[in-house]
Symmetry: C2
Subunit: 284 residues, 2 copies
DNA sequence: ACGCCGTAATACCCTGCGGATATCAGCCCC
DNA sequence: GGGGCTGATATCCGCAGGGTATTACGGCGT
């Protein structure tokens, strides 16, 4: 019943990620035999087989897949403990606010103008905000409902808006003053981009596979993909494109999110001033 | 930037709990000097002082208090990883449902009648359900809004009801057919019991200090305390007492809760049948 | 003032665990 | 059947983590 050490979990995740003991060992900076031994020991202590090693390769068992998820959150929690403790000892300790690169600049600027204690702003890739919050690299995040997974976080709504399609100005659709999701999803020659799922695989479809905001921006600029985004998310200007409202796309709510139960005075103050500032803007 | 090991976090929590290196070392089963060294090393690695050691004793610093909270959740996450992985390898693996001892039997029975795959039921003390969910001892919990802290969990409402005051049948209030919270809180000779806060200290007040459901039941039976609880929470029958509705007490909603983002097929099935079963009962 | 007690820190040794190297064992393909 | 993959096993070694002995320091009693 002895508990696991974080080292064992890191080793396990490396193997689960590479599905190859040699490469995993190299990544960890150790030799392969100790890694094999460590994983074997872990399996014996848990009383569960984590990998199927058979002809030509290593595969995760069901239990192994469970541990991938659990070990990830556990290591995040440990990392968060270290980071938050370090920052608690820092007398200055600005709040760290994470937002996805290329999200609404206007809203972020208003938010930063409203708070007197300037938080440190970190930019991340789409969908990565949750990870930053969980492992303590950030204290607050700007996220979007319903697209982001807000499980485990407390949130406060900032702003709700409809979505627009970004289409080349030369395209026939550019003359429309509104269109539907069904139309936007089936434009010949302008397929919508595909984002990776949580497990890293891509859904099927005609559109280009995309990993980062800048890839996406590039593809849009090249006229290779059609984009449906919240009206205010205009981080880049595409001079050759126009925005057409998508009438039946779900409204996107921009929210401030922070780890559930960690409402420090600093976070509470930020949230309060942010929400009142947004309300003031809404009314005008 | 080397990450912490769970051993260090356990050591730290032991010292933070005992506020005494010698006793903490004894509890950990090691000698005092290595413990001192380990804590000193931890402080140097984090670059933060965790304890103030000065005249007559040890005290937590602000950073130390942060680490107490963070280390607790981190260790829970690690323990959860081990437990859930072990159970994932078990072919039978019944779901574990935790509910506070002495909560509504009637509702629990209906719930268990409704689901075909019988979950294992664990009883815990009041407010402990969250801990069971976080460290993986349980998969689902029956909790109550707004009294329990549901931060970090997904929930599904089962049942909402008002609250009643439990008073001795011989007491003048027993003849009333309703009363208010203010009245219930100020009954001469029948003060309301006080529960410990999260840090283990008790709020001030005239009522008896109480830690467990059975203590409370005993005190009620003895006519030493007045109790305000949801109408259905009648785990024990007190033959000498009557229940008087408290008209302005907030409604209590009984909810099914599970760790955010861990909606396994088993949990989803349990939640679905539970909610439909409850709805059926409501309608009749 | 002095010494005693209780506490954490320091000094030092030693064992066992985590890591490295060398080798073996299955599997596939040519 | 041999060679090139893979992961497992065998064996050794160094050091991190733990033990014992001792010191440092502050409070308190007489």
């Amino acid at each position: 019943m002895d508990d696991l050490e974080t080292r064992e979990l890191r080793y396990f995740l490396a193997v689960a990620d590479e599905l190859h003991f040699g490469r995993a060992a190299a990544r960890l900076g150790i030799a392969q035999p100790p890694l094999s031994r460590a994983i074997g020991l872990l399996e014996r202590r848990l009383g569960v087989r984590l990998f199927d090693r058979d002809r030509r390769g290593v595969a995760l068992t069901d239990a192994g897949r469970v541990l991938v998820r659990e070990a990830g959150t556990a290591l995040d929690a440990v990392a968060a403990a270290a980071r938050r403790t370090r920052r608690a000892g820092d007398p200055h300790r600005p709040l760290v606010l994470v937002t996805k690169a290329g999200a609404s600049h206007e809203l972020l600027r208003r938010l930063l103008d409203a708070v007197e204690s300037q938080p440190e702003v970190v930019l991340c890739e789409v969908g990565e905000q949750a990870h930053f919050l969980r492992d303590g690299r950030a204290d607050v995040a700007i996220m979007h409902r319903p697209v982001d997974d807000l499980a485990g976080f407390d949130t406060e709504d900032l702003h709700t808006e409809g979505q627009v399609a970004i289409v080349p100005a030369a395209h026939p659709l550019a003359t429309r003053d509104s269109l539907t999701l069904a139309e936007a999803g089936a434009v010949p020659g302008l397929p919508m981009a595909r984002w990776p799922r949580l497990d890293g695989t891509y859904p099927d479809g005609p559109g280009p596979e995309v990993r980062t905001q800048s890839q996406l921006a590039q593809l849009v600029a090249l006229g290779r993909t059609l984009l449906v985004i919240p009206a205010s998310s205009r981080a880049w200007q595409w001079p050759e494109h126009v925005a057409v409202p998508v009438v039946d796309a779900p409204d996107i709510t921009t929210v401030l999110a922070w780890p559930a139960g960690s409402r420090s005075p600093e976070i509470a103050a930020l949230v309060r001033t942010a929400t009142t500032a947004m309300e003031r803007v809404e009314r005008t």
